[in-house]
């Protein structure tokens, strides 16, 4: 990999995360982890009237997992769960190297993680937030809110 990997976007979200805090108003939470790295993230969402009206994460992990989760929350807050799931799919597509330019644009800052696919050992870090989001939304949809 090249050093450019830790670019401004990533470093900024890692150093100054907007969404890393507890969320007393959360309607649902879900913990995700990445055994090979030791990354652990708990995602908290506030779901109201079919919209993700708020969100945050807590936990520890590498810069990639933290920044990726922070960027993700920037993107999905204010969207419907369906839209969020769509973005999750796009993100996975991007990591798999199968995304087109229009789709990449939809991902906005999350596109900064495109090159992670060259470092397979770190892919799971980048995906952690998104995988946790997917699991949480699936649970919420099926009524199993925890």
């Amino acid at each position: 990999m090249s050093e450019s990997f830790y670019d401004e976007v990533l470093i900024d979200h890692n150093l100054h995360p907007q969404h890393q805090h507890a969320l007393p108003t959360a309607t649902c939470s879900h913990a995700g982890m990445n055994p090979s790295c030791g990354d652990e993230i708990t995602l908290h969402l506030e779901l109201h009237d079919g919209v993700i009206s708020g969100g945050s994460y807590t936990g520890v992990g590498c810069a990639i997992s933290q920044a990726s989760a922070d960027i993700m929350l920037d993107l999905v807050i204010g969207r419907t769960p369906q839209e969020a799931q769509h973005l999750r799919e796009l993100f996975m597509k991007m990591i798999a190297g199968e995304i087109n330019d229009d789709e990449l644009e939809e991902l906005e800052e999350a596109g900064a993680l495109q090159n992670i696919s060259k470092m397979p050992a770190r892919v799971k870090c980048a995906e952690l937030g998104w995988r946790t989001l997917g699991a949480l939304l699936d649970e919420a949809a099926s009524g199993n809110i925890t």
Binding site: E3, I11, N14, C37
Partner: protein, 405 residues
């Protein structure tokens, strides 16, 4: 010997002249002499050994058994039959647990393990304890990576059957007093199992002097190819142990109902053996012997001291374990404030420096130390001062490159 010529023995450094390889505890690079020995085996000595009814098979048998003799001499065993070839240290340790362990351990027996052990010298005992109802206990270390002999003595009970300890920790680089351990254990009727994965490649090891009951190590961490490892066991123990894997090459008589087994070591080497790997291990031992441990240690100690001194000067960098370089034997694990070890390794990689990050297969130790993970650089004799300089340069830049001032 010229201080800077050894890298030319290792083709990987010809291929990648800018590579700074500092993950030697994970696996070493291989000198041309080892690759040649393996190729020569397959070009002119390859057949199924141990069935030597024709010249080529006889040659293969000799290659394999000569490697056994070389290992015997390398670790100071008195009898080559005490040398069993396995796949790696992990298999060696599992062999003891499955064979000696299942035959000899009972509920209420105890197994004592250093908390700093690699998973490969910990999980087999955890598994054995579960299977037999024995109790697994840990000896806890200080932050310096050392243990108190007093607390070892106190931890041994009349029921302690096994004490498992690495000679050199793969996280701290600390060298443990195995000879004293063995005395204490034997006085208590406890068997001592030594994990030599990190010691045998770096310091002279003599099993008779240490008086360990078993010693396990891997070829790939000492210049040999992957896929060949060693278990040393004392004659009387190996003789009494039931076989582990069963199949071809390890039997005397087989009937429909039962079987009698070959003598050790063959009893423990089921199936077609890895003679090519043994040829490589033999060549690795020849290379190490030619260089000699005094020289190997001189080089490694010097580079360790250099790296240690420089790292100590860098703010926000914390070396794990002993606070003098001679406590590290080429292994320097560390943390950098606010930067996750995986990010540290990624930045090193961007600068062409290969180091490791994570729990180094020692999760219970990291939990004991209260750190989730660490980064680790580890030295071999073929590293040189410029490797250390490049390592230090990158290390200095890490926090800045992660956005800290």
């Amino acid at each position: 010997m010229n201080e800077f010529t050894l890298k030319s023995d290792f083709p990987v450094f010809t291929k990648y002249p800018d590579l700074v390889y500092l993950d030697n505890s994970a696996t070493t690079q291989k000198p041309q002499a080892v690759l040649n020995a393996v190729a020569q085996y397959y070009e002119s000595e390859n057949a199924n050994p141990l069935r030597g009814l024709y010249d080529l098979s006889q040659k293969a048998t000799e290659v394999y058994e000569n490697a056994r003799i070389a290992v015997r001499d390398f670790i100071g065993a008195s009898d080559e039959r005490e040398i069993i070839f396995t796949r790696n240290a992990t298999e060696s340790l599992n062999l003891i647990a499955y064979s000696w362990g299942k035959a000899n351990l009972h509920a209420s027996d105890e197994i004592l393990v250093q908390i700093s052990e690699h998973h490969s010298n910990l999980l087999p005992w955890q598994h054995l304890a579960k299977e037999t109802g024995a109790v697994l206990r840990y000896l806890d270390c200080y932050k310096s990576g050392t243990y108190s002999l007093q607390s070892l003595k106190q931890s041994l009970t009349p029921n302690t059957k096994i004490f498992a300890a690495a000679q050199i920790s793969n996280v701290f680089g600390q060298l443990y007093p195995i000879k004293e351990y063995a005395q204490i254990c034997h006085n208590n009727g406890t068997m001592i199992i030594c994990d030599g994965a990190q010691s045998v490649p770096h310091i002279p090891v003599n099993v008779q002097d240490l008086d360990v009951d078993f010693l396990a190590f891997s070829g790939h961490k000492m210049l040999a190819p992957m896929g060949i490892g060693v278990l040393y066991g004392k004659h009387a123990l190996l003789e009494s142990m039931p076989p582990f894997l069963t199949g071809g090459e390890m039997i005397e008589y087989v009937t429909r109902e039962t079987a009698t087994y070959a003598e050790f070591p063959h009893k423990f080497e089921a199936g077609t053996v890895n003679a090519g790997g043994a040829a490589g291990l033999h060549a690795a031992i020849r290379y190490l012997n030619a260089l000699g441990f005094p020289e190997i240690q001189r080089r490694e100690d010097k580079l360790t001291a250099l790296a240690f001194a420089e790292m100590q000067k860098i703010p926000h960098v914390h070396i794990i374990g002993g606070d003098t370089p001679d406590a590290h034997h080429g292994i320097l694990s560390f943390t950098v404030d606010d930067v996750h070890p995986h990010d540290i390794a990624a930045i090193f990689n961007a600068d062409n420096v290969a180091i490791r990050a994570g729990h180094h297969c020692a999760q219970p130790l990291h939990r004991h130390l209260g750190i989730p993970a660490s980064a680790r650089m580890s030295i071999a004799f073929y590293n040189d001062e410029s490797d250390i300089e490049k390592f230090v340069d990158t290390l200095k830049s890490i926090r800045r490159r992660m956005g800290y001032v």
